[in-house]
C-alpha cells in the first residue's frame, strides 16, 4: 500500500463456482474517507466481491488489502478493521437489539462493560432506543437493517462494507438509511457499498464501479456515468401505434443516442441531452406539428437498466430491479 490513500485495494480478483465465473479479474480501490459504490444487477458478482473483501471467501486469484492488512494472508487482523453489514440483516431475531449489540461487542473482545456502553450509544445513534428491549423479530425491515448496520459499527472499524443496504426497504426506510450512511461518511469512515440502484450510488458515493458478469464495465462519478447514458430520459406513450414512426423520427432529431421502441410501437424513449427540459419541449412541438397524439410524456432519471443498456447493449437481467429503482427515485 502506498501512503495513506487506499484503504481498500483489490487487484485482479477471480472467483469461480463450477462453470460460473463470479468474479473475472475485478480491481477496486477506495481511498481513505471515500465511498465507492459497486453497482450491478443481481448475479453481477457484487456479493461475491464483498465476501472476498471481508475474509468470508478466499478468491481463486488476486489480492485484497484492507487498511494495509492482507485479507487473504491475515484474515484475523483484517476482520478487526472491517465492519460488514450484509444483505440478509443478520441479527438474531430472538435477542433484543441491545443483546445483539452487546454480544457482538463481547465477540470483538471489548470487555463486558465497554460492550454494554457501546451498545447503548449505538442504539441511541440509530434511533432504536425505543425498541431496544424487544426481540428483533418484532422489528420492521428498516429497523432490522439499521440494527444490522449498528452491529457492523460496534468496534468502530475504519472500513465499512455494506452489501445492498437498502434492498427491499420502503422509500422512507431507505431515506433514513441514507441519512445514517451519510453521517458515517462525515465521520470519516471509508465505505464500500453494493447496490442495484443508480440513484443510491448517485446519492451516497464519490465513485461508482459498474460491474457485470464479475468484471468492471464502467468506472466514474455518477455524473460521468450519467453523461455516458445521456442523463435524463424522455418517455412517450402514444395514443396509437400508427404514429410510431413519426414519433421516433421526431425523438431522433432531438435525443442523444438511440430511440427505444416498445409495447408494439406505443412506447418510446430516448436519452435527453444536457438541457433535458428544452429537449422535451422541442419533442412536444414536433408532435404538435405532425399531429402525433400522446397519452403520456415526461422526463425520467436514468435507471441502472439505462446505464446497462448504453454500456453493454443488453438490459440488466433482473427485471424487478428497474421497477424498484424507479420507485426509489420517486
Amino acid at each position: 500500500m502506498s501512503g495513506n490513500e487506499a484503504m481498500i485495494r483489490a487487484t485482479g480478483l477471480v472467483k469461480r463456482y463450477k462453470d460460473v465465473e463470479a468474479l473475472a479479474g475485478l480491481d477496486l480501490t477506495v481511498p481513505e474517507g471515500k465511498v465507492l459504490a459497486l453497482l450491478g444487477p443481481n448475479g453481477a458478482g457484487k456479493t461475491t466481491a464483498v465476501r472476498c473483501l471481508t475474509t468470508l471467501l478466499k478468491p481463486d486469484a488476486g489480492s485484497v488489502s484492507v487498511a494495509g492488512v492482507d485479507v487473504v494472508n491475515d484474515p484475523a487482523a483484517a476482520k478487526a478493521k472491517i465492519g460488514l453489514s450484509g444483505q440478509y440483516a443478520a441479527v438474531d431475531e430472538h435477542l433484543t437489539a441491545y443483546e445483539n449489540l452487546v454480544m457482538i461487542g463481547r465477540l470483538y473482545h471489548l470487555g463486558r462493560q465497554p460492550a454494554r456502553d457501546r451498545a447503548s450509544e449505538l442504539l441511541e445513534r440509530f434511533d432504536l432506543t425505543e425498541f431496544a428491549n424487544r426481540p428483533t423479530k418484532t422489528y420492521s425491515g428498516g429497523q432490522r437493517r439499521r440494527l444490522d448496520l449498528a452491529c457492523a459499527l460496534v468496534a468502530a472499524p475504519p472500513v465499512i462494507v455494506l452489501d445492498e443496504p437498502t434492498t427491499g426497504l420502503d422509500v422512507r426506510s431507505r431515506q433514513l438509511m441514507w441519512d445514517v450512511i451519510r453521517e458515517l461518511v462525515r465521520d470519516g469512515a471509508t465505505l464500500l457499498l453494493t447496490t442495484q440502484y443508480l440513484e443510491e450510488a448517485d446519492v451516497l458515493a464519490d465513485d461508482i464501479v459498474v460491474i457485470d458478469h464479475g468484471r468492471q464495465i464502467a468506472h466514474g462519478t455518477a455524473d460521468e456515468l450519467k453523461s455516458q447514458t445521456g442523463g435524463q430520459r424522455i418517455e412517450v406513450v402514444l395514443a396509437s401505434a400508427a404514429d410510431s414512426d413519426a414519433a421516433a423520427r421526431i425523438l431522433n432529431e432531438v435525443a442523444v443516442g438511440e430511440v427505444q421502441v416498445s409495447d408494439g410501437g406505443r412506447e418510446l424513449q430516448a436519452a435527453a441531452g444536457q438541457e433535458a427540459a428544452t429537449d422535451l419541449l422541442r419533442v412536444l412541438q414536433g408532435f404538435e406539428r405532425d399531429a402525433v397524439k400522446v397519452l403520456d410524456v415526461g422526463l425520467r432519471r436514468p435507471t441502472l437498466d439505462d446505464v446497462f443498456l448504453s454500456l453493454t447493449g443488453h438490459a440488466a437481467e433482473a427485471a424487478a430491479t428497474t421497477t424498484d429503482a424507479t420507485e426509489a427515485s420517486q
Binding site: R51, T54, T55, L56, L57, A76, A77, K79, A80, I82, L84, G86, Q87, Y88, A89, A90, V91, D92, E93, H94, L95, E99, M103, I104, R106, L107, Y108, H109, P135, C151
Partner: protein, 266 residues
C-alpha cells in the same frame, strides 16, 4: 489471549445467546419435554407386555433405552440450530468478527447440553411414575446420567458437521431421522439383545447406542439377569461408550470446525 482460552470465552458468549433462545421460544422447550414423555408412555404400555426382559420389569428396563434414544435425537438440535444460523446469515456475521473459529461450535454444543439435561429430568420423573427405579445408589445413577450427557455431547459434534453442510433446517431434521431411527431401533434400547436374529445381533452388540444404554442401565441397576450378550462391548459398556465418546469428538470436532471455516452461507 491463547487460542483455547479465547475459544472458551467466545464460546460462552455464543452459548449465552443460545440459552436466551430456550427461554424466548417456549415451543421448542415444549417439544423437548413432551416427546420423551410420549416415548416413555408409548413403549411402556404398548410394548410393555410383549417384550420379555428376564429378571426385571420391562418398564424399569426400558427407561435407560428411552434415555439413550432421546439423547441421540437431542443432538439434532445442534445441527438444526447451526443450519438455521447459516440460512439467516448469522454465521456470516460471526465469521466476519475477529473471534475464535471454533467458538460458535463450542458454544452451540455446550448450550445444547441444557436441552438434554431438561429432557433427562422430565423423562426420569415420568419414569418414576411408570415404575423405573434407581437401584445402585445416587452416585452411580449420577454417573449414568453424566455418561448419557457426554454421549449426547459427542453426537452433537457429528450433527454440527451435518448442520453446516445441509442447505436448510428441514433437511437436517429429515436426514437425522433417517439415520437415528435405525441406529436406536437396532440397539438394545427397546428390545433386549438376545431377542435379535443372528444377522442383527452383532450390530446391536457393537452399536454405540446399545453401549450407552447398557452402561447407564447397569449404573441405574435395571439390567436384571445381565446384558444378554457375551460381547466385550456389552460386558464393558462404560469403557466401550467412553471410547466412542472420545473417538467421535476427536474425529468430528476438527471436521466441524473445518467445515465452519469454509461454510459459505447463501
Amino acid at each position: 489471549m491463547s487460542t483455547a482460552v479465547q475459544a472458551l470465552g467466545d464460546g460462552w458468549v455464543v452459548a449465552q445467546r443460545n440459552l436466551i433462545k430456550i427461554v424466548r421460544v417456549p415451543e421448542i422447550l415444549v417439544f423437548v419435554l413432551i416427546s420423551p414423555i410420549m416415548f416413555v408412555l408409548l413403549f411402556a404400555y404398548v410394548f410393555g407386555g410383549a417384550i420379555d426382559t428376564p429378571g426385571v420389569n420391562y418398564r424399569e428396563w426400558l427407561i435407560a433405552g428411552i434415555f439413550g434414544q432421546t439423547i441421540v435425537f437431542g443432538a439434532t438440535f445442534t445441527g438444526a440450530g447451526l443450519a438455521e444460523d447459516m440460512q439467516k446469515g448469522i454465521i456470516d456475521r460471526f465469521r466476519s468478527l475477529p473471534m475464535s473459529n471454533s467458538a460458535v461450535l463450542v458454544g452451540r454444543t455446550a448450550s445444547d447440553v441444557v436441552y438434554n439435561v431438561l429432557s433427562l429430568v422430565i423423562m426420569a420423573l415420568t419414569g418414576f411414575i411408570v415404575g423405573w427405579r434407581i437401584n445402585e445408589g445416587v452416585f452411580k445413577a449420577l454417573a449414568g446420567f453424566a455418561l448419557l450427557l457426554l454421549f449426547g455431547y459427542a453426537i452433537s459434534w457429528v450433527m454440527a458437521l451435518v448442520g453446516l453442510m445441509v442447505p436448510s433446517v428441514e433437511v437436517i431434521n429429515n436426514a437425522s431421522f433417517i439415520v437415528i431411527m435405525p441406529l436406536t431401533f437396532i440397539s438394545n434400547a427397546f428390545v433386549p439383545t438376545q431377542e435379535f436374529n443372528k444377522v442383527l445381533k452383532p450390530v446391536v452388540e457393537w452399536n454405540p447406542v446399545s453401549a450407552v444404554t447398557q452402561a447407564s442401565r447397569d449404573l441405574f441397576g435395571n439390567t436384571g439377569l445381565g446384558p444378554g450378550s457375551d460381547a466385550w462391548s456389552m460386558q464393558n459398556p462404560v469403557t466401550y461408550t467412553l471410547i466412542w465418546i472420545v473417538g467421535i469428538v476427536v474425529v468430528f470436532a476438527p471436521l466441524a470446525v473445518r467445515q465452519y471455516r469454509k461454510a459459505a452461507s447463501k
